[in-house]
Amino acid sequence: MTYNETVILNVMINMVAVISMFTLMGLTGIFSMGQASFMCIGAYVAGLLATKTDVPFLFTLIFAVIGGMLFAFVVGIPIMRLRRDYVALITLAFGEAIVAVLNTFSNVTGGAMGINRIPRNINLWIGAGILAIVIYIILNFKDSKFGRQCIAVKNDEISAASMGINVTRIKMTAFILAGGLTALSGAMLAYTTSYIDPNSFGAARSIDWIGIVFIGGINSMSGSIVITLIFSVLSETLRTTSALRTLIQSLIILLIINFVPNGLFGEHEFKDIPKAFRKRMSRLSANARKREKK
């Protein structure tokens, strides 16, 4: 695998992770500060299966997703009944706990040494395929009763419940779906870097994703994807001068917050762009006509 391939795969991995964060935070309004721990789980499930057993590649991915979903289910049962601010705290604690457990539980997980020599079974096509499937799934999710119920729950839980929406259940659905997808991104990461250790899955990573979803536009998956792309390109091109990179990233964030406070895409997706463009043009021409009349 060439260096360039690795870079592009890493961008795709980040996109999958950010899309899962979008489902959780953008659509449902659940702040998961420990979402990176699901990536960690996915990476370890795939890594362990690939190095210690001869389960085929595709199945290790599926097991990673199932592992992430199971963890989300177990953690979600108590968490999803809590208030939002507590959810952020507890997922943060859970995330750090996972890292600590993997660090100390060394005879299976390799401890802080991590897992080495994971076969690099993934390539660009597989990565692109997975990304496409994830995008398809989440776009469908957003445009279904589930997505609309997620937004309703985010906007007003009491009102949503009074309309017959099972609030806890819809939150669980989003949490499990996001957990599975984040774990999938972790599995992709394991196969791309061929080496994983627990310490790269801390809260900082989750917070990065939260930031990306925010500036991309809280209800827009397209926005999350674009911002991920921009930030990844930045961090690659300015790899040697990390101070400059931070400066430029901060500048982008400030500009977006100042000029498009709802995020780069607001609540729109790519498919809305032509429509929005036409709307704006017709408004402009209407304004021009008004001015002529005056």
Binding site: N140, S144, F146, I151, D156, I158, A160, S162, M163, E267
Partner: protein
Amino acid sequence: MNEPILTSNNVSMTFGGVKAVQNVSLSIERDSITSIIGPNGAGKTTFFNVISGVYKPTGGNVEFDGTDITNLRQHVISHLGMARTFQNIRLFAQLDNVRNVQSALDARADYNIFQAVLGLPKKHRVDKANYVIAMECLDLVGLKDFANDRPSSLPYGMQRKLELARALAADPKLLLLDEPAAGLNPKEVEEFIELIRRIKDIKRLTILLIEHRIKVVTTLSSKVYVLNFGQLLAQGTSEEVQSNPAVIEAYMGEDEEEETVCSK
């Protein structure tokens, strides 16, 4: 013969030391319009919140359509056929108006997560059908032209109608309206009374409303309950209640100075 659709037996709700609702027993007949009135802070909205499941009552029980709903959760009660609106309009700000209405139908839509994420035909079929129903509900309250706007772009009176449409989309047997005419001007109130009448005739449902406007209460409701300081003060037809000295005292207070209060 005609057993009541909703009965509350000695319902009480306390918050710490505050007794918001105390031993309220009432029954709502099917196919009727009933009003609950009372001065500010009388516990009307708290009572609504108890019967719709937002709060669990600290005493007593509530029976709806033959089911004891005292300890059921909000969405379960909704699925039994009770819908409500809120005093301080609670719409979903990030969904457009038709999707707001559709949310009630989404909660009842019959497809699962796999059909949803894979975009299978059943999902599209159900969603399309629900969209049509949602548009019909919007049409009923006269908001069809605003289907693709956001709730925040609507004036106050229309937001109230939108909330009403959303509640109707749940196809309820009992509709709870919490101060539906608050903030409306006299002309809008007239329209609103007409609208409620029409909806009741079309949908054949029972309506329980909290209201301050005497006009709405007297023209619409066949029975009136008066709450004061969390307790049931009086009940009867609107004429009976209006001439009840205890009610007059509760509304006007004993001081002459406060007479202006009742003028609204």
